[in-house]
Symmetry: C2
């Protein structure tokens, strides 16, 4: 099935020309506590497994759309994006799913307060924000479930960035992906804090998309990944329901390490961790051994997201002076 | 089945009191190109999978045995080993398998030219040398297959250090382990070189034995490891038969990374790599991308063994001035 067929089903009887001329929307980045790693359908970004994330409400992408009559223009943090770049082609191909040919063009201004392509889900929040912005521009008035499905067509984990709290993205089993969407979970845990530790803001040499594909196709360990996820999803739901910090943290950390492990066993190998990453792992393990309640998770890059409780912020700041503490 | 029962079968009708008073024997360390990782029997050190190694003929353990009448004394590189240490208790428990109670005591002098407990198979060559030394001391005149089985009772990979070239250790299927021994492979490849890169000679905080056990019991990825080994053993036999350096190197490197991957996914996680290890991985990958034929393997520690061809020694020495190039 093709993306435009999914869009057609979801947008049946909805406007395909803009109703508004300018909209501005924000979507938060999301940090998976149980990772999305591997697709069952490359075209529709359908995942092999479910995943579970927590949003960082004040970090993400703001998208401003203005209608134009000549051509699409995209900027990120004020810098115009080249028309032959993958960011440009992915964004315009996404919009093409929804607009009548040559009916309208857009000026898309992204404003991100996280680094791009550094394993911090910048494409997730960008596509989620773009989807929500299009929903307003065209006045589709779609429910969030539908927005999640559409955002997924742009970037898999964008399905999760439609919400601002704990989120589960259901893998689903249907070929058309209509059962593969994210939804908000009922857990509340304001004491849970996240901290972003940027160890490198250079762009990755290998995209998540390419890494995932090579991993699924060549890592003999990938066969065990779905069982790992089943196991961890159960533990995470329990831990979040009970506010069991050690269980949540140890499961999230181990799940991330299992993802990096499966990926390391790709052929040729893929190692997202830098020497600095390993040094921080070791520092975190040493701090934990000394009694500090501290865990980490890591996406497809060298940077780390630290997980801790609000009461420990002073100690965390002392140990990691460059950390960005995120409000939730 | 217990170790002493295995020893009893193998040593039926063999002397159990020393025939000689002093012997001196050397056993080389061995570097697995396809790793031994996980036991099907903890008591007899029976492995889940077969493994394949290459010996480093000039690096390893020399053992000198002198008979004594009072008690066992062990020294390593001239330093007396404490009687309450695990090295002492493992070695004396091993000798107890073969001697009549209180019939003889031994002075065991180990001389190692590799660091201990740094992931360089120091216990493998130590137990292989001790086994060969006991064979001479007691004048058992055992065939190498039997020596391999006995050495395995001391330390799993010691089964492979009985020989000095390419070696396969057959996993076997029998509960008594009589089909789990190593044997020499017919491949000759003098151009193949190994280089030891010591990044830390500190003792590991977690022994291979404990790491392996935690990994088998808790890593969801371990279920995929035997398939990985089956795949890699076939590739390695072909590569060694054809002297296909790229195939041998890429398979050995990927197999090592898969072992570290499976281990990283243990719960709690186990990471043998240090920041320096990752930096050298990256350096090796960059050198390879620039055309140098260079791969690595890594055992249960932060140190690396580089694999390259004799013709590239000048370039290797230039890139890694602290490397120890091993003769084969």
């Amino acid at each position: 099935m093709k993306k435009y067929e999914v869009a057609k089903i979801i947008l049946a009887n909805k406007p395909s020309v803009p109703v508004n001329t300018t909209v501005q929307v924000f979507a938060p980045t999301n940090i998976a506590l149980c990772k999305y790693w591997g697709k069952r359908d490359d075209e529709l970004n359908l995942p092999v497994t479910s995943s579970l994330s927590v949003a960082i409400p004040d970090k993400g992408a703001q998208v401003t759309l203005h209608t134009r009559s000549d051509k699409d223009i995209i900027s990120i943090n004020g810098q115009i994006v080249a028309e032959n770049s993958s960011v440009y082609s992915r964004a315009t191909a996404f919009i093409d799913l929804f607009r009548q040919k040559n009916s309208c063009f857009l000026q898309i201004e992204y404003s991100l307060n996280i680094p791009m392509s550094a394993g911090l889900a910048s494409s997730a929040c960008s596509f989620a924000a773009l989807t929500k912005a299009l929903n307003e521009l065209f006045a589709w008035q779609l429910p969030e479930k539908s927005l999640s499905i559409l955002a997924r067509l742009g970037s898999g984990s964008a399905a999760r960035s439609i919400w601002s709290n704990f989120v589960e993205w259901h893998a689903g089993t249907r070929a058309d992906g209509m059962d593969s969407y994210a939804e908000s979970l009922p857990y509340q845990w304001p004491e849970l804090c996240l901290g972003i530790l940027i160890l490198s803001d250079k762009e990755k040499s290998l995209s998540s998309r390419e890494a995932m594909k090579r991993c699924v196709n060549s890592s003999a360990l990938y066969a065990s990944w779905p069982d790992q996820v089943d196991h961890d999803m159960k533990l995470l739901h329990e831990a979040l329901a009970n506010k069991d910090f050690d269980s949540m943290g140890s499961t999230a950390e181990a799940n991330a390490l299992a993802m990096h492990a499966v990926t390391l066993a790709s052929r040729p190998p893929i190692c997202f961790s830098s020497p600095e990453t390993i040094a921080v792992w070791q520092k975190i393990w040493a701090l934990r051994a000394s009694g500090l309640k501290l865990y980490f998770t890591q996406d497809a890059g060298p940077n780390l997201i630290l997980l801790f409780l609000g009461k420990d912020i002073p100690e965390i700041l002392n140990a990691f002076p460059t950390i960005t503490i995120c409000r939730r």
